[in-house]
């Protein structure tokens, strides 16, 4: 039992680290993306469908819907409105302004694949999912509890 105590402590530390990471939402791009930083207003514009250009290249927002916990955080922290207001804004933007609706991805693996494939793609993920991924780069923290 005494031999196993350090192992348990290490496991508890790892669990705590993982737990802490799971409650931090970050904005990510592909590792070789030209995007280095985005302020909160630009992030909001991006996910409302407004065209955001970096070096003349439009960014492609990917709405991560792989986890149901992400939806309220997305609405409150990123676009700062309710679901119905967001839907209305998207409809107005798409139909009246010709903006593009952010692509919604329901699978975490598909999200990663899409992100890998598009250097202009921007999405948000739990920090724990991207902490040790060299192909993905965190550009800012969006929310943590």
């Amino acid at each position: 039992m005494k031999r196993r105590a350090p192992q348990l402590v290490i496991l508890l530390c790892l669990w705590a680290q993982v737990y802490a990471a799971s409650h931090t939402l970050v904005l990510v791009v592909r590792a070789d993306s030209k995007v280095t930083a985005l302020d909160s207003l630009t992030v909001r514009k991006l996910f409302l469908g407004l065209p955001v250009l970096i070096d003349g290249t439009p960014l492609h927002p990917l709405r991560n819907r792989s986890d149901s916990q992400l939806d309220p955080i997305f609405l409150q922290q990123i676009v700062a409105m309710s679901q119905s207001a967001y839907d209305r804004q998207i409809l107005i933007g798409v139909n009246r302004q010709g903006w593009l609706r952010p692509v919604e991805v329901n699978s975490g693996s598909r999200l990663i694949e899409t992100l890998y494939a598009d250097p202009s793609a921007v999405t948000f993920m739990w920090l724990q999912d991207v902490a040790h991924n060299p192909k993905v780069r965190v550009i800012r923290e969006l929310w943590s509890d």
Binding site: S40, P72, L75, A80, S82, E141, L142, W143, S144, D145
Partner: protein, 485 residues
């Protein structure tokens, strides 16, 4: 709950009991969501704006600027708590917060906790590190609005429920009224009142069709009932006629048997009486006048005459009409002649009246037999009024199709003979035409009078009826077929 109206009301009540709570819950959920939307959207936008402002603030004088910003946030009145967390350091407004902050960072749903505060935190990126803006928005005004809205919804739904119940009561009455009328009409029909027409005004097509079908059924039922009643009446009349014919046939056969027997005896007796009467009269001529022998012989002759008269009566009763003596004759002179004879013999306290109708048709038969009929009837009548006296009334009229089953249709002469005598009861009436039936003492009547009358009328193809009541008198009606003049 057995009446249609109560069932309709019951159904409406059950539907309301099931739907009204659902309606209330649904409407209040919509109202709550609407108010929550109206609360959450500005709160999120406003907090994001503040976060954006903080993120855009220059590094120089960041903390005084942040404090001013938090002061402005709290002074809006909508935010009850605001702070900036920078690592272990907290920047707060110089305006005191209205509440002590709860131990949580974010609410993602309106009214998620019961402290009436909606917490939003934003990570604000600064050049060198990130800080967290945390704000608490006051939910209580919106909660009060929601409560007031729920009360208004409740009042509206209760008013709607009350109104719809009133409508349901009225509607159930409208629907049930024609059915109740139908039921009452059906009850009357079931009670035998088939004339009750099923007619009601209803705008409901099903009720109209039901009424029409029931009315058709009623009319068919009425028709069937009338046919049955008619058939039963005809059958009863036919049965009565059959019984009457049977009774009269039996009576005729009995009379005929008696008549044949009596006629045979009378004929032989008449043959015996002829020498008795003849030799008695011869002997009376030879007997000394005034002596005992002449007196005895006179009595023998008188008795023989009475016996012959009796025998003649029996023969009259038993024999058919003698066609050689029959002819078409006027009735009135025959009756006048008979009454002339009768007026001479009836007591003075008996009044005889005769009312002949003018233009009475003649009849076919032997006038002397009709003469005997009148005499016999009037004799019976004045004997029935003895000794008090009274009135004998004769009427002579013409009738068409008399209501006698044994008579054919056609014109008849009706002779009515009524008296104010003591009358007869039913038991006497049943036997008055039987030969030798009499209510008089032995020796005072032969019981052949009415039998002879019956025989004569029958031989003339006529009919005789007698109505009598004890103490009120007797009425005899004689119908004789009118002969062509």
């Amino acid at each position: 709950m057995n009446t249609l109206r109560l069932r309709l009301l019951g159904v409406v009540l059950v539907i309301h009991a099931a739907l009204v709570p659902l309606l209330y819950l649904g409407v209040t959920a919509i109202v709550t969501d609407g108010y929550a939307e109206l609360f959450v959207n500005p709160a999120r936008s406003y907090s994001q704006l503040v976060a954006d402002e903080l993120e855009a603030s220059s590094t120089d004088r960041f903390e005084p600027r942040a404090t001013e910003l938090l002061d402005g946030v709290l002074l809006t009145g909508q935010v009850v708590f605001a702070e900036i967390v920078d690592g272990n350091r907290k920047i707060r407004s110089s305006v005191p917060s209205r509440i002590a902050p709860a131990d949580r960072r974010d609410d993602f749903r309106f009214g998620q906790h019961n402290d009436e505060v909606y917490y939003i935190s934003h990570t604000v990126k600064r050049p060198d590190h990130s800080i967290v803006l945390r704000m608490g928005f006051d939910e209580s005004p919106t909660l009060e609005q929601i409560t007031a809205a729920k009360q208004r919804v409740l009042i509206a739904i209760l008013a709607f429920t009350a109104a719809s119940l009133v409508v349901a009561i009225w509607l159930s009455a409208v629907i049930a009224r024609p059915m109740v009328r139908l039921q009452e009409a059906a009850k009357r029909i079931a009670g035998g009142d088939f004339r009750t027409q099923l007619s009601m005004s209803s705008s409901i097509r099903e009720v109209q069709e039901l009424n029409r079908h029931l009315e058709d059924m009623r009319q068919k039922l009425v028709g069937t009932n009338e046919r049955l009643e008619r058939e039963m009446s005809e059958r009863e009349a036919s049965e009565a006629k059959r019984l009457d014919l049977e009774r009269r046939l039996l009576h005729r056969e009995r009379i005929a048997t008696i008549g044949t027997l009596a006629g045979g005896i009378a004929h032989e007796f008449n043959n015996i009486m002829t020498p008795i009467l003849l030799y008695s009269q011869v002997a009376l001529q030879d007997a000394p006048a005034g002596g005992p022998l002449a007196r005895d012989l006179t009595r023998i002759v008188a008795a023989a005459h009475r016996a012959r008269s009796l025998v003649n009566g029996i023969l009259t009763f038993s024999r058919e009409m003698d066609l050689q003596k029959a002819s078409v004759f006027a009735v009135r002179p025959t009756i006048d002649e008979a009454l002339g004879l009768l007026r001479a013999i009836v007591p003075a306290n008996v009044e005889i009246s005769f009312e002949p109708q003018p233009e009475v048709a003649p009849v076919f038969g032997d006038p002397s037999l009709l003469h005997q009929v009148v005499v016999n009837l009037c004799t019976n009548a004045y004997q029935a009024m003895h000794p008090a006296g009274g009135r004998i009334a004769l009427r002579l009229t013409s009738v068409h199709n008399p209501p006698m089953t044994q008579l054919n249709e056609g014109r008849y002469v009706l002779l009515e003979v009524s008296d104010t005598g003591h009358g007869m009861d039913e038991s006497v009436l049943a036997h008055i035409f039987d030969p030798f039936f009499t209510t008089r003492d032995v020796g005072e009547g032969t019981g052949l009078g009415l039998s002879i009358v019956h025989g004569i009328i029958t031989s003339m193809s006529g009919a005789i009826t007698v109505e009598s009541a004890v103490g009120k008198g007797t009425m005899v009606q004689i119908f004789l077929p009118a002969a062509a003049a």
